[in-house]
């Protein structure tokens, strides 16, 4: 039976249908979770999709973190449940304190909608088990507030503890610094995605669900989507609390 993966819909979410589509391609049974519901309906993993939750008028993600569904997502994450935030979903996770760091306005002060390449730093997480470390993965970004920021001590700690999950890379696969063309938003240390300490919550700005079929120019995102679905399937057959034990190394 396909594993049930929740996709949260906030008012203003606009990548929920795309995420459902990509999860279906990966063989999951996507379950739409409305922002007002307090139950996650027993799903094995949760995706917070992209969009402009509640309009993002104050600051991206800052209102969404107070929604009823986010209380349930926080409790689920605390129990080791798998949570992936994409774009606006990453912003919501950062605002909720479920992943470290903050997403500032793009360094250009303009919306960035284009193709980028990212590379995973680990292949032993629930989100990257089907991805090769260092291989450039091409997928779109589309955001105005995606500049990853944390203080130096936090950045050092994240790197040391393996919490940097994805970096923006240039054509040669090298990390793209904040002012380099391969880095779409000025993110510090080229960080495109991070993990929480326990390793069961991840957020990234690029859109793997938009790179799910070759006809759209790239299916490089499916490695990430499939990793999540396979990990969720494993979690569904595993006692709660053990899923995120890939953890820090």
């Amino acid at each position: 039976m396909p594993v049930r993966v929740g996709v949260v819909v906030f008012p203003g979410s606009n990548c929920d249908r795309d995420t459902v589509h990509a999860l279906s391609i990966a063989g999951a049974d996507p379950v739409v979770l409305w922002h007002e519901q307090a139950s996650l309906e027993g799903v094995a993993a949760v995706v917070l999709p992209g969009g402009f939750a509640y309009g993002d008028y104050v600051r991206a993600g800052v209102i969404a973190r107070f929604s009823p569904v986010m209380r349930a997502v926080s409790a689920f994450a605390a129990d080791g449940g798998l949570v992936l935030g994409i774009c606006n979903g990453f912003q919501v996770l950062a605002e909720a304190g479920l992943v470290p760091g903050a997403l500032l306005r793009n360094r250009s002060l303009r919306f960035a909608g284009r193709q980028v390449a990212i590379a995973a730093l680990r292949d032993d997480t629930p989100f990257t088990r089907g991805v090769s470390v260092g291989t450039p993965l091409r997928m779109p970004v589309a955001h105005g507030e995606g500049c990853y920021f944390a203080d130096d001590a936090t950045l050092d700690q994240l790197e040391r503890d393996g919490q940097v999950l994805f970096r923006y890379v240039d054509e040669a696969g090298r990390p793209a610094g904040p002012a380099e063309p391969g880095n779409p938003n000025g993110s510090l240390r080229a960080i495109a995605g991070v993990l929480n300490k326990a390793g069961n919550v991840a957020g990234l700005m690029p859109h793997p669900e938009r790179a799910a079929e070759a006809i759209l120019g790239s299916d490089d995102g499916m490695g990430i989507v499939r990793s999540l679905v396979e990990s969720a399937a494993a979690a569904a057959n595993t006692p709660a609390g053990l899923v995120g034990s890939a953890g820090a190394r």
């Binding site: 008012p11 203003g12 606009n14 990548c15 249908r17 795309d18 589509h21 990509a22 992209g50 969009g51 402009f52 509640y54 309009g55 993002d56 008028y57 303009r110 919306f111 960035a112 909608g113 284009r114 779109p140 589309a142 105005g144 859109h207 669900e209 938009r210 799910a212 079929e213 006809i215 759209l216 120019g217």
Partner: protein, 529 residues
Amino acid sequence: MTLAEAGAVVEPLHRRLGVTDDELEAIKDRLGGRDPNDLELAMFSVMWSEHCSYKSSKPLLRTLPTAGEGVVAGPGENAGVISIGGGLAVAFKIESHNHPSAVEPYQGAATGVGGILRDIFTMGARPIAVLDALRFGDPADARTRHLVDGVVRGVGGYGNCVGVPTVGGELVFDPSYQGNPLVNVMAIGLMEERRLTLAAAPGPGNLVVLFGSATGRDGIGGASVLASATFTHDDPSKRPSVQVGDPFAEKLLIEASLELIERGLVEGLQDLGAGGITCATSETADRAGTGILVDLDAIPRREPGLEPFEVMISESQERMCAAVTPEKWDTVREVCERWGLPVAIIGRITDDGDIAIVTGGLDAAGGPAAGAVEIARIPAAALTSDAIVHDRVAEAPTHSRAAPAPGLTDAATDRLPERGMDPGAVLAALLGSANLSSRRSVFTQYDSTVGTDTVAGPGHGAAVLRVKGTTQGLVATTDGNQSVGALDPWLGAALSVAEATRNVSITGARPLGVTNCLNYGDPTRPAAF
């Protein structure tokens, strides 16, 4: 000072509202010989504007071919709809928002996107793509750069937020657009053909339901002379005439509208654009051969103190008007409230063919409540299908521009060298031309991939979208030829159609339909017309 006094000391009120003396006579004729009151005059002034009535261009536009294989809905509806087989259909339309964008480029462009998207989902189609066709003056000019920057941010700010990809368009600089940019936005939607929903208000006794944003004072436009006549002192509550967009509200409106249509909860649906509630009620009633009794007090407002004419012609954005049977009202309200949208019954459909407006409320049976006052009554047709049509005089302009050199773009813009000069210098001039340079800095500000249907996005001659669940693709482009159009309008238009057809054909697609957006000057000037 009363309105009448204000009119007496300056010019007659109708002229100040842009209604000519001849048109006033035509209005009286349609009201059985009586004079319109101020509210009625305001409603006529908006509905008989060029923008709403096409009173000058209608006779010409009627000559265009509109029937053909696969045409499900043509002109007269909110958007054209063409069948693509397999029970699916495509809704598409292009519209301009030039003047607001010249005044306030961000909001002008943003609300242009919002308006055209509403035309698409009103039909029951989910918007899947936007294209923007832009014209500006000299790119070296600071004002032009301000306009370009604001318009591009506005298109992106709105389209990106509602989650509809901007997949193509045009950006052309020409001195003739100096200070007067063209902002044309096309939207495309995909629908199940059986979900086609028309902008009609059928069934006397049915409810007229308004949902979406509350009504405010924005977008009153030229009719604000009525307000300034009333408020003789400084009025701190004056709002700009350019509407302000709220893409978040639009996103909720899309989802709520499509859910209402999907569940069969509405008998007809119309978005509110130019002319606001006046336009939505009169057009839907006229199409269905009905009338509407408007309960003015029931219309949700942003602020107290709005005058009846302001409520009736406000162009506040992100609003929809639906015809709903009384049995389905509770479910309609539940859907709107779940999406966080204000919703109210603002009137009843009648069988008298009139748009009548009352203050003081309606009774349980849907008629005016005891003590209610009727403040306006106009035949719906008089505002729409029976609006005035002018037979304008057209003559060729006396001025003529130097023809551009063969194969080169407009010499005036690009300062190209004369023929016979060094080919290397010609090449260098072409490479340096703003009209041939990369548009990447523009289209990277747009989300072109949301929706996961974009096969070929910005930077191509035409955009290609796949249709999920089928093996089909959709191809769309916008093209125009202002240089030839200025010299020879017929040839310019023909070349534009030919260019668009070529851009579609070279992807391997068969052109299915054409929609046009014609931007011209004052139609009362024979040369412009």
